[in-house]
């Protein structure tokens, strides 16, 4: 994934799309926009940095997990196995981006009633949406969509249904998704041409989310 920070104006459409798509409970975020000010009056600018799991090549969360509940699949997506996760929080402690969240208790959006998606039975949900209290959760790069696209022989990142929910909703076209190993893909070209960078490189985690700054 490539995020063009020059095009991000902090609307948080990606945050809303992620919340809805993945039924992320109130208080937790798989996708979030950090913002801070740079400079001094009158030369001030606001920087918006969308953050989600970096799907590192060398993920420290995976190494830290005592239950071996975190794995990296053949497409480079780092996923948590909710059946194995015992909520030890070692992954949260190891992640240098702070993008893993803990579900301490079930929180509904409204106090006294459940919205329709909160009422869905577990069988109706993708395995990555069968969350429960006492486990860690994080961005899956909408693996349920990418997996479906791969099964149907479609190219992930091609259209809305084959991309993570945060990509195509971005009104500023600040987000790009594709195969980083393919030198002809849009993301590879952007990384090369615009000299995109990775966050916290000093940790040697080799994140797969690049930022154009």
């Amino acid at each position: 994934m490539v995020i063009d920070m020059k095009r991000c104006f902090g609307c948080r459409a990606c945050v809303a799309a992620c919340k809805t798509e993945n039924m992320v409970q109130s208080g937790n975020y798989w996708n979030f926009v950090l913002e801070y000010e740079q400079g001094k009056y009158p030369n001030v600018r606001r920087i918006f940095t969308p953050m989600n799991c970096m799907h590192c090549e060398n993920p420290p969360c995976m190494k830290a997990c005592p239950e071996k509940a975190i794995s990296k699949n053949e497409y480079g997506v780092v996923l948590i196995n909710y059946d194995r996760c015992k909520g030890r929080k070692y992954c949260i402690a190891a992640c240098p981006y702070g993008v893993i969240h803990f579900i301490d208790k079930e929180k509904t959006f409204y106090e006294k009633e459940k919205i329709p998606c909160e009422n869905l039975p577990a069988e109706a949900l993708h395995a990555l949406h069968r969350k429960k209290p006492g486990i860690a959760e994080k961005c899956t790069l909408c693996w349920h969509r990418v997996e479906k696209a791969l099964k149907e022989g479609k190219r992930p990142g091609g259209d809305y249904d084959t991309s993570p929910a945060c990509i195509k909703v971005c009104p500023g076209n600040a987000r790009y998704f594709g195969d980083i190993d393919d030198p002809h893909s849009e993301v590879s070209k952007l990384i090369a041409e615009k000299r995109a960078i990775q966050l916290n490189r000093e940790h040697g985690t080799r994140p797969q989310v690049y930022y154009i700054i």
Binding site: Y29, I47, P60, A64, K89, A93, Y97, R201, H203, G204
Partner: protein, 115 residues
């Protein structure tokens, strides 16, 4: 203010690394695994569980060596906005000092940055 915060973080990192070199870390790790040093069997992040027992009681790392109250405004760390209560968040730069590929800790969580 920012320079001061960076200086404090570096100083803490130095203290932690000094502690780490003063102790024989691999030997300590073996003793923990064999049960010679008792840290309990409960893996978790609470103060009375293994994580804090190892870092605080066995290695002698003080709470404020890791927990910081304020991040620099431009530090990109999502959970810094979340109120966790207690001691506050940990800058992972401090963990990096020991848990990097060629660091003194036995558990190598982080790699080394490519040149």
């Amino acid at each position: 203010m920012r320079t001061r915060a960076i200086a404090i973080v570096f100083a803490m990192g130095f203290v932690i690394v000094s502690f780490a070199f003063a102790l024989d870390i691999p030997k300590t790790a073996k003793s923990i695994k064999s049960g010679k040093i008792k840290v309990g069997k409960s893996t978790g992040m609470e103060v009375d569980q293994r994580f804090h027992k190892i870092h605080n009681e066995v290695l002698g790392i003080d709470c404020v060596s890791c927990h910081i109250s304020n991040f620099a405004p431009d530090y990109l760390y999502q959970r810094k906005y979340k109120d966790v209560g207690g001691m506050g968040h940990v800058d992972r730069g401090i963990c990096l000092g020991c848990h990097k590929e060629n660091g003194p800790a036995v558990t190598k969580l982080y790699g080394t940055a490519e040149k």
